[in-house]
Amino acid sequence: MILVTVGTQGPFDRLVKTVDAWAATQPGRRIFAQIGPSDYRPTAMEFAADLDPATFEQYLTEAELIIAHAGMGTILKALELGKPVLIMPRRASLGEQRNEHQLATAERFERLGIVQVAQDEIDLARRLESLDSVQPSKRISDSASPELISHLRTFLARHLGAV
């Protein structure tokens, strides 16, 4: 199953429409899309405006690929499960979010080599055409870097005493 998710910051039709157009050429492939409060009705894939956290978690676990906006919650969850992630950043210039931080997020995470990034609809369509090239992602550990954890523990021990 392929999971498409746009998170909770409103619709992201550029992403949904592009995947839906591709889905129409993929009979037999199960694709589920969480599309937010959108007027667009996908015709070639299952969809819901929102998913409750338990169902979302279940779909994430079942998915062989996650196609998403560059939302940190989705990216981190997907990487914790070792799922390949293809992201397309929302753009504030198109009214899709409040600032351009998803562009920066996408670029940095791509540079780290842990997600694949489609810059826009054309790039996304091209990447979907050659889906076989989506690399399995490196699974990240369940928690933050040892350096950060240890820095926080030192601070807590100083103010609360060690445990």
């Binding site: 956290p53 940190m72 919650g73 928690s143 933050a144 040892p146 950060l148």
Partner: protein, 152 residues
Amino acid sequence: MVPARKKILAVASGGGHWVQLMRLRPAWQGYDVVYCSVHPEYQQQIGDARLYVVPDSNAKSKLAVLRTAFAILRVLRKERPDVVISTGAAPGGLALFFAKKMGAKTIWIDSIANAEVLSMSGQKAGKHADLWLTQWPELARPEGPEYHGSVL
């Protein structure tokens, strides 16, 4: 009288902020911690720990911010945490602001989503943070925030 055990309040709004907070949990393993977020469903991720649910808000709506502020104040008055830690956004920023005035130590970890500039809440919260962290080395400054690793 036995002194009350020291307590941590961990605050994050929904989605990515919450996921990042969850990835920091080993930092406070062994301490008493209560959580505060914006979705009751998050209870299932934190076992027996107490979860306070407050309304979310952002700078766009002053009324919503006020509602969040009152809810946060109620939590702080009830729990009297010794340390407040947050990964953002608005509820966490407000929690740090009030907690600092109430004498608690405060920690702000700016979201890893802010790779080029600190978040608005992060810039404000930094002033009320005893420990002010960014997750990108490029954003660290001598006057803060500091970089000491990330949630990755």
